[in-house]
Symmetry: D3
């Protein structure tokens, strides 16, 4: 049976539930979704500093699932439910199961349905980190990044309408001025507005949560696992000290 | 219901059957596979010249399915079952359903399980066209292309063992000399040897047929369609003359 | 004697005549121009779909000339008179004579007279395919592509004045906003307006027809032929079926 | 007075001392070096997994210094004494003082004395992460990365001679086969062998510790500080939970 | 003792004095600055033509210093005090001492304090040459170039206020429209306005003179010298004729 | 009448004659070739240092021709007969006539007849400067540079046979190991061996002299002139001092 862990690396239980809900809505019958978040870390991820802390929470959560999996039910694949692909490279070192971030997944789907597209993300502070990801994934010539000028958590609660509107205006500018033919939602917390935005804009709107979950589900069905022959090899055994002692790599 | 057309753009019925078999083996229950090839065109695709003719056969086949789909059962998505991604851009102009080539799909899966990988293709004449695809898909910094020095059709019939051996040697060189951590099979006709090669090499071996079919299946489930807002817009209405008269774009 | 075939890959006899006229106007005494178009195919080329069909018509026309050449007069070189460089790579596989597309030729001349330049093309649907060509030819850092928002065939007949005006406005924007120092005409059908536009803009205006014809004429005089050592090797012998049977590669 | 914090992000006190010693050896009179390592984290940094944990230790250490600095003596600049530039982007968000990693610093110095150069790093698992850094810093066309095939900690203790020899052989291969004209030491722990290797190879050998310390010293003298106008803005205020509660960004 | 030659490659004694003043202001006690300009050449450097002549004056000046150094005091390093990095590659062939241009130095410092930045240069004619430098130094993805629309020499004398204002407006546009987080002064003659502009803009303003001098000072302290193993090898011995006879490379 | 100045920027009269001979051999009837070299400068051009001096000699020669042309016969276009494209950008500022270097011209012709090719140059010291040119001209993905290990002047006189042999071996290695499909001769002094090498290697061999002369001849016939709207604008008027006084830009 396919069992996908969708890990929201921030502490927002609301995000985790929203993301889990979306994941369950789109998987095939028989695919189980385990949605969870770390036991420690930042309330949201907005820029490099938050990312550094969230990565550790993500890895700690994965270690628990890997160990647990041996007795309970093995995880077939992991989705890191953050658009910054926080900790994805490190996570790939930790398990043979495939690991996917939202940005990588969304860019792949976008490139299938559009020759040019745009990421719309909440805050300006994320633009440059996302541009680095776009470059790393080889999409610089077809993807621009714009910020809507709202906080990540604004997509929940009383500011949600205002946040949606700001996002839509930013997306419309991408279509009008950047030649974008599709929109990529640059934050996991926007997963529930993809359908509405797609209907209103009339172009494909790609949600990274959906894209990553379906990709990992597909890879699980194909039996594809992370190569241990290079950069994603298991971390060499060594000691870790202090509050990280328990996270030391073991044989 | 999800109904995927897997079109082998060359005339080899053996290829078509092999590819169809593999596609059916990996889709979810409830996904129908329509495997077919054009009514006219080259026996195999080896380089730019064959590609040009195969593209037209592919498009003709798709037009039939699009029209037929209106009465019979609509196609949810298309896989162009050739590793040269022959005609994929043109095909995306012809339908709202998502269209996927093997090279693009395989590169996406390879990048998830490995930081560096290699395409192994049958003939040297395909190396440069594939390098152009690798560049187009933004993977030049992590992917090399090697030729095994055999003909495409050698993977069928009495030369199959020899062809497999040449392929394996070439793949081993990629692992030893190019730093590859995974191998991408650079021809649709190799789809049935992925498992054996993966077992023998001990690194992930990605088959483009499987990768593309699962991606298109996933996109169908998500309802993602090709954007008509830019380069993949429907072709402007005009007349076509002579033997192509019937293929003119219509409103 | 130098004998250049200028093949307009679409079915517009008006285009073919216009292009042939321009070619004859600029070659040296003693260079013969054979201007022709395929016997079948699209009325004009606007995007990926038309390109796929036009490529086959081009190749069919070239095969006729290659065969005929053996008895009549050998072709020294080919110009594919379309700015999308439709089928050029495939055409290079079909003959030892040098083959040139308009885009490649025009970009080379533009880079000699300007450090930055712009392609102005009729329709938006061509922007992305042309950007791919610009990237393939290594000119991305110095060339932008803009669309004038008119149809290709508008440059003939009663809309010609309006089309010219739209083109000129678009070119002026490139000079003012993109830092362009020269303009490249992004369509074969504009070949007769280069002089007027150059006079009115005061910067070099490069016409691909003229550029490609002169390059092929030069290569013929130097005796340079297409290398058969790699990607442009003659297509491997095989059967083609159906309406393409006669186009199968032969030894 | 210039006061530079050189933070070794791993737990090896030997590394910290070695790095501190080298830093003190090369700074101007009047520049104070504070060499320290985190209170928790991995014994060494070998690949993505270790990096994730080491980044947090680094940031925690910096927060202490920033707070302390207000009362004691303000830090003029930070050197992250790890060649993977672990956590450097996050660190730049945390302070106005300039922050420098070893890889970025060493590549800059190498490009001044050589048109092509090579990084020699201990383990193969670091090659791909370093290639990403080389690409991020824009040096891909002039820098290759090779692994010597030894562990990072081998450069201390009884294996040091063997490690040195492996490194030297690897460096010689870079000179002979890759066209390298200078060698960059790809690990902080090699800081004390630069002079010997330079003398034996006869080409410049760049040590990242020295390069980064001198750069940060120079920036301190010039009064250059990290821009807070974009990606390195202070992290938005929010809560952090669990063992990371104390590291939450504050106003 | 560290002895840095700061060579202004144009004939403006005012520039030379200004640049020398700034250099002396920022070096450590014990570092000697020799500021000078060639005995022949252009009054200022504005574009490719001036550069060609200024390079020769620079090299002639350096030859004098190298020879003189043998008897008097050896030069530890050279700064070419022109933002076009005029003749820097040739200069590196002429001496073992490290040689630094303003553009390279300024871009390195900018990348430490900002993830995106802009060069503001006096005249439009310099934009493209500077873009080539930005590309050569690998910073194209994070740096734009804008011209203020004033002459280089306007920064001296009665037009200095107007020139400053034009520069400031151009810099503000970079911050507002290009996402720049820091400003690089694109001309040696602006060295004395960096502090004022930084104070008024509130973001880091990098002066190439200061950056290059500090880098060369640092390299001198580290004993790093130009590699003679490749592109910067001493020029092969040969004769030079005419007015250049005395500049022939000698053994 | 078309009148092309072919300027060998070094002082070797033998080179100048050889280059002039080849130019006259390939131009159309009615095209006049003026072959000359500067009155001062290096005996040959091998690396950055020689280039700097040769550029000035080239520009001085061009100024003479431009002035003389006003009374005698105007120059239609210039060929800088050096494979390093020494001074070409500066030369384009000096005249409205088109200016062409050998490297740019040869790369354009190579890309027409081959998808991958190699430059073979005499000395290792030229490899890196040529790689910069290859990058500037956008051909990095299809062109490698190798050195034959001989001096430039060895192609004249008693060492010519040995030099030819070294060149041929180097070219064969490019075909066998780099996937090159054509060879570009990386020095003007090889212009007379292109035919022999092409016959012996069986692949296209491109000589930059021939390529540049034919390109400039073509541009003259088309009336294309250098844009004065940007980087190639006439140099701003100013004074030059000392031995360069006479070369100051005038209105």
């Amino acid at each position: 049976m396919t069992r996908i862990a969708v890990i929201n690396p921030n502490m927002s239980v609301g995000f985790t539930e929203k993301v889990g809900l979306q994941a369950r809505r789109i998987v095939a019958a028989g695919t189980e979704i385990v949605a969870l978040n770390p036991q420690f870390g930042p309330a949201s991820i907005e820029g490099y500093y938050d990312e550094a802390f969230a990565s550790v929470g993500l890895l700690a959560t994965m270690r628990g699932l890997e160990a647990e999996g041996a007795s309970g039910g093995k995880i077939s694949g992991y989705v890191v439910a953050c658009f910054d692909d926080t900790g994805v490279d490190a996570a790939r070192c930790l398990t043979k199961a495939p690991v996917m971030g939202l940005c990588e997944a969304a860019l792949r789907f976008a490139a299938i349905v559009a020759s040019r597209f745009a990421i719309v993300t909440p805050m300006a502070v994320s633009v440059r980190p996302l541009e680095h990801l776009v470059s790393k994934y080889g999409a610089s010539s077809q993807c621009v990044v714009r910020a809507a000028g709202v906080r990540t958590l604004d997509f929940e609660g009383e500011n949600a309408d205002m946040a949606y509107l700001a996002l839509k205006i930013s997306a419309e500018n991408c279509l009008a001025e950047d030649g974008a033919e599709a929109i990529v939602l640059g934050c996991a917390g926007m997963t529930d507005i993809a359908d509405r935005l797609q209907a209103e804009l009339g172009v494909p709107v790609i949600d990274g949560v959906s894209a990553a979950v379906k990709l990992i589900e597909a890879m699980g069905m194909l039996g594809l696992q992370t190569s241990k022959a290079g950069a994603y090899a298991s971390p060499p055994v060594k000691t870790y000290d202090g509050i990280f002692a328990e996270f030391a790599p073991v044989a």
